[in-house]
């Protein structure tokens, strides 16, 4: 491609654009880098002035996020005896002993269960509905599609009151099942709209050929259409998962003890003496890094989901 093109930016323009974009990108990830860095600091390094860029890394924050600790007096410490494990030793130098596990692991597991549960359900329902909207003459199709989209406009708090009452009378409040159903419903609009776009792009001739070969409509759906839509389904699934993973408003209002997910929990992490920022950062890092890795690895497939399918490639 050596031919001169009027639309190809000049080298100088490319350099200029590149430098500005890279500069913005570096500034924009600084807070994220700072979260990860803080998670490896000691509490005193974390609140040092000026902010410390270079420090001796420690996993204290990670130990703190998974445990609860108590401060003991000198005599009590002697009565407890020598610390047994590396994490015991780590907290002992501050005069603390580990009194038990924190609820972080539990909250994290809840996030995983609710996230994956709602994603699977959402994809099953969404694929079926999207296929029907894409291929069949559904009465009132446009109205139904708009109805599905409009459910997205409601502020979560606005529907939270009756959902709170409804869940309470159905015994669903603060349960995994309740949150899975709720997140499925919230994500369904995105999933139907995205998947319809993907299925629309699969040529209808494939199915027609399958039907002529004696497949039933149903077989044509799952033997021909589903494999072809696999990439689309996968990227939609990632979006549903990320949304359910990040959701906060419903989680904080409708769950407390049993089914609480990590986002309402992480800000409540408090150390023995005040806000323990390395522990908060460690919790946040464990929670955020999987999403960052996902985003970087799957960047090619994510664009459409971000823009709600409104923008094709």
């Amino acid at each position: 491609m050596s031919s001169y093109s009027v639309t190809e930016p000049s080298r100088r323009q490319k350099w200029f654009a590149g430098i500005l974009v890279v500069l913005y990108a570096l500034i924009t990830i600084l807070p994220l880098v700072w979260i990860i860095a803080t998670s490896f600091k000691t509490p005193s390094d974390a609140i040092a002035y000026p902010p410390k860029t270079f420090f001796t890394p420690t996993v204290e924050g990670y130990v703190n996020v998974f445990t609860t600790r108590t401060r003991l007096t000198e005599e009590q410490l002697q009565a407890v005896g020598e610390p047994q494990t590396w994490y015991d030793r780590l907290v002992r130098k501050d005069g603390l002993v580990i009194s038990g596990p924190s609820r972080f692991a539990e909250r994290f597991t809840n996030s995983v269960i609710i996230g994956f549960g709602s994603t699977v359900l959402c994809i099953v329902l969404g694929t079926a509905a999207a296929y029907a909207f894409s291929r069949f003459k559904v009465p009132l199709k446009d109205d139904l599609m708009f109805f599905i989209l409009s459910t997205r406009m409601m502020p979560p708090i606005a529907v939270a009151i009756p959902i709170f009452l409804m869940f309470r009378s159905l015994g669903l409040s603060d349960t995994h099942a309740g949150m899975i159903l709720l997140y499925t419903a919230v994500n369904l609009s995105l999933s139907v709209w995205l998947l319809k776009g993907f299925i629309d792009e699969i040529p209808i001739e494939y199915e027609e050929a399958a039907l002529i070969d004696g497949y039933t409509r149903f077989q044509a759906f799952y033997k021909v259409v589903l494999p072809q839509a696999a990439t689309g389904i996968a990227s939609t699934a990632i979006f549903c998962l990320i949304f359910a993973w990040n959701e906060y408003a419903f989680a904080v209002l409708l769950t407390s003890g049993n089914a609480q997910t990590a986002p309402p929990f992480i800000p409540t992490i408090i150390g023995v003496s005040g806000q323990d920022w390395p522990a908060v950062a460690a919790g946040a890092t464990l929670f955020l890094v999987p999403v960052m890795v996902f985003t970087i690895l799957l960047r090619k497939h994510l664009l459409r989901g971000i823009t709600f399918g409104a923008v094709r490639k």
Binding site: M153, P155, V159, N246
Partner: protein, 315 residues
Amino acid sequence: MLHSPVDRVAEATPHAMAKRFRGLSDRSLAWLFVTPSIVLLLAVNIFPLIWTIRLSFTNFRVNRPNAEVAFVGLKNYVSILSDKDIWLTMQATAHFLIWTLVLQVLIGFSLAYLINKKFRGNDLWTTIIVLPMMLSPAVVGNFWTFLYQPQIGLFNYAVGFLTGADPSSFSMIGDVSLAPWAIVIVDTWMWTPFVMLICLAGLRSIPDSIYEAAECDRASKWRQFWTITIPLVLPFLMLAVLFRGIENFKMFDLVVQLTGGGPGSITELTSINLKREAFEKWRTGYASAYAVILFVTVFGLASIYVKALNKVKQR
């Protein structure tokens, strides 16, 4: 691959029945596929909405289940619309909405324009810019309170470093005049990539041939930008504004973690205010009326906007 419950049902049914089931007509299959989704949406979205509307005409309180529920007509609506504090939260929301949209459109479009110069490695840098918006707003918002700490906070340090001001002399989330900007900054940091991606898609959808033709007609670059680039990207940009507008009108998680509505109630956006009424003061009927008003506002503004958007698209 057993993907849908329908599949599993089909698997489990006796052969004769299975044959009939699999041979379902298109019409019944269509219904079978659409109904579960619609039912779920009705149950979790529309039914609660109707319930909210019903509650909004009563004085019901969740924390007093035994008290008699009385029908109070439009009283809740009247007292909300005549409440000065609620107009203050509306103002706070408007400030937040307008400034986040302005900043995100300006920065988002500029970034997209630069990325579209197709320098080497633009793909990776785009992804890095996109990272903040993929993360949990509550968790990130919480951490920003740390970055905003006077003296020890990275943000204050950076501002101090750049302007020479003393990092401990100001508190972004503790100061009444700075807090509204603190939430605008974090939201802009988080959501500019969204506007950027949609603009980028818009820029990439413009065929080269249009610019080539303009070049043949000796149109200046400046002229090309205003008569080709801007009009063709505008529908995309407006779409981005629509999505961000709806989302920021509903804004809850990021701001509640960042400032909690404070100091005082200077950053108390409508969603946060509504949560106070509904889940702290437990004025359920009143809060329901509030929710209905908000929903009607979003829906009304969005429909007017979509009409304008369609006009732009048709041009």
